[in-house]
Symmetry: C2
Subunit: 233 residues, 2 copies
DNA sequence: ATGCAATTGTGACCAAAATTACATATTTTG
DNA sequence: CAAAATATGTAATTTTGGTCACAATTGCAT
């Protein structure tokens, strides 16, 4: 179930390790570690739900989560998968809106909650940090725009190939090219924006074409260049 | 061609009128007006092009532009339409990436160019302004995520209805309910993410169903509630 | 271990929307 | 103003991908 055999205890977490906080001074890191609350979450638990008010944002210390929106008749659209070092819930928090996505644990996770006031304090007092925040938002905005274009213009096959490559670049792949993150076909479909059956069919096709190998939910990459060409990127 | 009979001369522009700059002090507004360069752009001209390096961002003083990405074999995906008071090109500028979109004038426009250094100076020295910038980015990010869900889950008919309502809310509508912005069928298609022929067909259908009235490129709203229900929002 | 629930896989069928191919308007430009 | 270019409209056809139905398998909880 858990992807690594060692899960750090919440108390030991030191947020200074994470890139997101790289511009903070020692004093600020001290305040951050003092204000934070860390907690473990079991697979399947929901960290926050669309439509609720957030009291802070979270830094992922360990594990994997999916961030998704609930669309027409409950069908979920996965916006992104997050892992160690990623931060979540900051978008709705900073615009002081209700959460526009939900976050569900896919692989047992440890998250640190940082209160809104602490974030505001850091943004206000450390220009480098707030500039870094702006750059992260800008990058995410570009990715979102890219994805809009993809979903509007590419076929399901192209998008599935692209999502597989995206997972390969962002999550652990072991020595023989096997993707460590394990998603259901439905989750893949909800990321690609298609029906579960289509994903099943296309994965079989990719397997037939010797692009990937399938062992249950584990996907092993056999021919990345062709996959890349197929994704038209 | 031009939507209003009076086009302000670039020199007269005072940026303090625009909401985006509402948190700046008088001194800062002074610096801004001093650093800016305003220019008129004719319909069809391209303000900046995808892949180029930006030297600053623009504030739209007048006119209408489309912001779009060029996807597979040159098909453009329109990300948004902008008008008076909107700012453009700040995303790529702030993340210091090459422009990921292009901006083309749809209705003769006047734009003010504000250099990168000026923006950085203002962000760094005025917390309220930089917080406002963060909030704008967050809002755009939410809109992008919403649109991803829409495009992935809704039918073309639903999306077209939604785009029409979005245009109605963001652009001038005259007394008898006629949308003043005039777009080609192809531009509508590139916003909705579909083929031009599909837009033509669906617009005729909407007209048959007495939801809208068509006079060339002018669209007049007859039954907004039904349209809203059709868009499933 | 056993049984229920969820997931995966497959095939047939259907609906939505893209593509193709033209005909007709309408803009734009020389 | 006329010619050329661009945009609009329509119909026929094809493709893609969604839906439905059902079987087989796997996972999970008691």
């Amino acid at each position: 179930m858990r992807s690594s055999s060692y899960i750090p205890q919440p108390e030991e977490t030191n947020l200074s390790e994470f890139k997101f906080f790289k511009h903070l001074t020692d004093t600020e890191i001290g305040k951050l570690n003092y204000d934070k609350t860390c907690q473990t979450y079991k697979k399947g638990s929901v960290v926050y739900r669309e439509g609720t008010r957030l009291t802070g944002f979270y830094c992922v210390t360990n594990g994997i989560l999916k961030i998704y929106k609930t669309g027409i008749d409950g069908k979920e659209q996965i916006i992104r998968f997050v892992k160690q070092g990623d931060i979540i819930a900051f978008r709705s928090l900073l615009s002081q809106e209700l959460a526009c996505t939900s976050a569900k644990v896919i692989d047992d996770a440890v998250l640190c909650h940082i209160p809104y006031q602490t974030l505001l304090y850091l943004l206000q007092n450390n220009w480098k940090f707030s500039h870094w925040m702006i750059q992260i938002l800008c990058r995410e905005l570009r990715e979102a725009n890219d994805y809009i274009t993809d979903i509007a213009q590419k076929t399901v096959r192209e998008r599935l190939a692209e999502v597989l490559l995206l997972l390969k670049d962002n999550f652990d792949v072991d020595d023989d090219g096997t993707l460590q993150i394990s998603l259901t076909r439905e989750e893949l479909a909800n990321m690609v924006g298609t029906a579960t059956e289509s994903v099943i069919r296309l994965l079989s096709e990719f397997k037939q074409d010797k692009l990937i190998e399938l062992k249950g939910r584990k996907i092993r990459f056999l021919d990345v260049p062709t996959l890349r060409r197929m994704a038209s990127i």
